[in-house]
Symmetry: C2
Subunit: 346 residues, 2 copies
């Protein structure tokens, strides 16, 4: 069993989960599914028993308090405090530079839900084996719907003596017609933003394909400061970075892209409808949290932080009450929550 | 022009307008349409200029405070405080016993909305003329929909030298098929619970058809007590009354039932959907009161007493926020609001 270092990325604002998710306490730090927060669950499923070492968390100053409060073992963890958000390539590079060059890191977004933890852990071991051999590995999440909000990975040739495959193609977010084609085809998986790399391999590839970015991150680390378990990269050096996603900067350019299939009841909880689907539901598809009365409803979700909510006769509807804001949204309208004035002006 | 005494009945709980309407401050006393309450508007449209005298209000102790606070001229009004609710026949008899026998009274529910006040006043004068001649007159409200929640009046022969008609038949709440037939027929009107009587005529008819009820009300008044502008009927005598509606006790039995047609933009505001229809709406049929953001909605009503409400993508939906209770209800479900546990246990 390979020891894997979880690299947990805490960026993103989760505005489509407004009003529950707010700038001051966004999506990763909320107990959206069950009693643990998405961040806590991310760290907990990277358990020592499953072969993981202590985590490295990359976050910003705004959320440092939540990270340290929610880490199960803060003393054993490292927290990199980004001066500003510069997208995933830089965040992963910061973590890689804190690790031995042959360490295998598993990059985990902190705001996803994974229902089947055993399947995740098995896929992580599979990915780590390939990473240890120099592959840059994406989790290819089994597509269960024609999603237009995710990128896709097209499966290539099997990699011998592994459960993985070469990546034949990275595909950007498709339109619905293409997404339906991918689903029918069967050789396309969702790119869920979970990656396994050897730290040194990742840094070499980044330097090859994005030398300026790689140099700026090295500079920010070289001039950074440690403070207990925290590490603060140098702000001036970091400010020079042109933020780019790891997909664009590295994965689409490397000759060593691999994928491991993962069917693990994954959801990015990308909006209220996605959260509704991840929750336990009654026989009519309703899911309720907080004081509520539901009469003659199907596929209704209610989440209230106190005020009593009554819903009569509705279908495919989401009702959220949080700190004096009330959101009522059709499932079809869930993507538009982030564009509300309330979400923008919180 | 006949002088008409408005007799304003303040009973009823308005539970189908929960959570805005509550036991302690129900429907009549709320500014549901515009800035005046339904009770205020009821009294104000019975103006001196339109031939009305000072009102007599029949209410219960629970709502006395609201009645006296909202009466435009409390010193000139009389308020009868019922020891308990005993339905409309008894309430009207209490008022009739306070009036000269030849006074013409116009019985007005206090929780209806009338959009066309001039039409109301004209119909009231028409009804008063007939009442002065000994008719017991119902307002026959022009039916504009196949309502199954109202009783109907079938128009009979015209009454000479008047705008009124004999009533051919009182019809209880019909099923939808019959209601559609009534609407197509054209000779059926809604019974809106607005009546004109000469006080003495009403009491004579009540004594003829419900002698026990009439005697008990007389007894309650004989042993009652005045206190300023208030009158308190005797509770023990009043308790013996078997409550009955004026329709059952008198109108369906009298040989002198008449009706005057009234097309006056009337609504009983019987539920949230009815209120929505009575409100000003934007071009998509949405009506908003309080802080709210409406995106991609049609025929949505929002009424909030403070918390900000955002609605996305909904059609035919009602959202009400009042004192920490949130109601979300389809228009089709509006009739069921009164049966909610929240409405029952307020």
């Amino acid at each position: 069993m390979n020891t894997i270092i979880p690299v947990v990325l805490c960026g993103g604002s989760g505005t489509r989960l407004w009003p529950r998710s707010r700038k001051a306490k966004p999506k990763p730090f909320l107990p959206l599914v069950g009693d643990t927060t998405l961040f806590e669950a991310t760290v907990l499923r990277c358990s020592r028993e499953a072969g993981f070492g202590p985590p490295v968390v990359v976050t910003g100053a705004l959320h440092l308090e939540h990270v340290e409060a929610q880490l199960p073992d803060p003393a054993a963890s490292r927290v990199i405090v980004e001066p500003e958000g510069k997208n995933t390539a830089a965040a992963i590079a910061l973590a890689a530079l804190q690790l031995p060059s042959d360490a295998v890191m598993l990059v985990c977004p902190s705001d996803h839900h994974i229902g089947d933890v055993a399947a995740f852990q098995a896929a992580a071991q599979e990915a780590a084996k390939l990473a240890a051999k120099g592959w840059l590995v994406s989790f290819g999440i089994a597509a269960t719907a024609p999603e237009t909000g995710f990128g896709y990975l097209k499966r290539g040739a099997p990699i011998p003596e592994s459960g993985g495959f070469a990546v034949a193609q990275f595909v950007e977010k498709p339109d619905l017609e293409r997404a339906l084609g991918f689903l029918a085809d069967g050789s396309y998986a969702w790119n869920g933003g979970i990656f396994a790399f050897r730290a040194g391999t990742f840094l070499d590839e980044l330097a090859a394909h994005r030398p300026a970015l790689a140099a700026a991150v090295r500079d920010a680390v070289a001039h950074g400061q440690s403070e207990g378990t925290r590490f603060y990269p140098d702000a001036a050096a970091f400010a020079r970075i042109e933020g780019e996603s790891v997909d664009y900067a590295v994965m689409e350019n490397t000759a060593h892209a691999a994928m491991v299939p993962a069917a693990m009841a994954w959801s990015d909880i990308g909006n209220w409808q996605a959260l509704h689907e991840a929750l336990d539901q009654d026989e009519d598809g309703n899911a309720v949290r907080g004081p509520a009365e539901i009469v003659g409803c199907t596929n209704v979700m209610v989440d209230t932080d106190g005020p009593h909510v009554s819903v009569i006769g509705a279908s495919d509807l989401i009702v959220v009450v949080d700190k004096g804001d009330v959101l009522v949204c059709t499932t079809a309208g869930a993507q538009r929550v982030g564009k509300l004035a309330g979400a923008a002006n919180q």
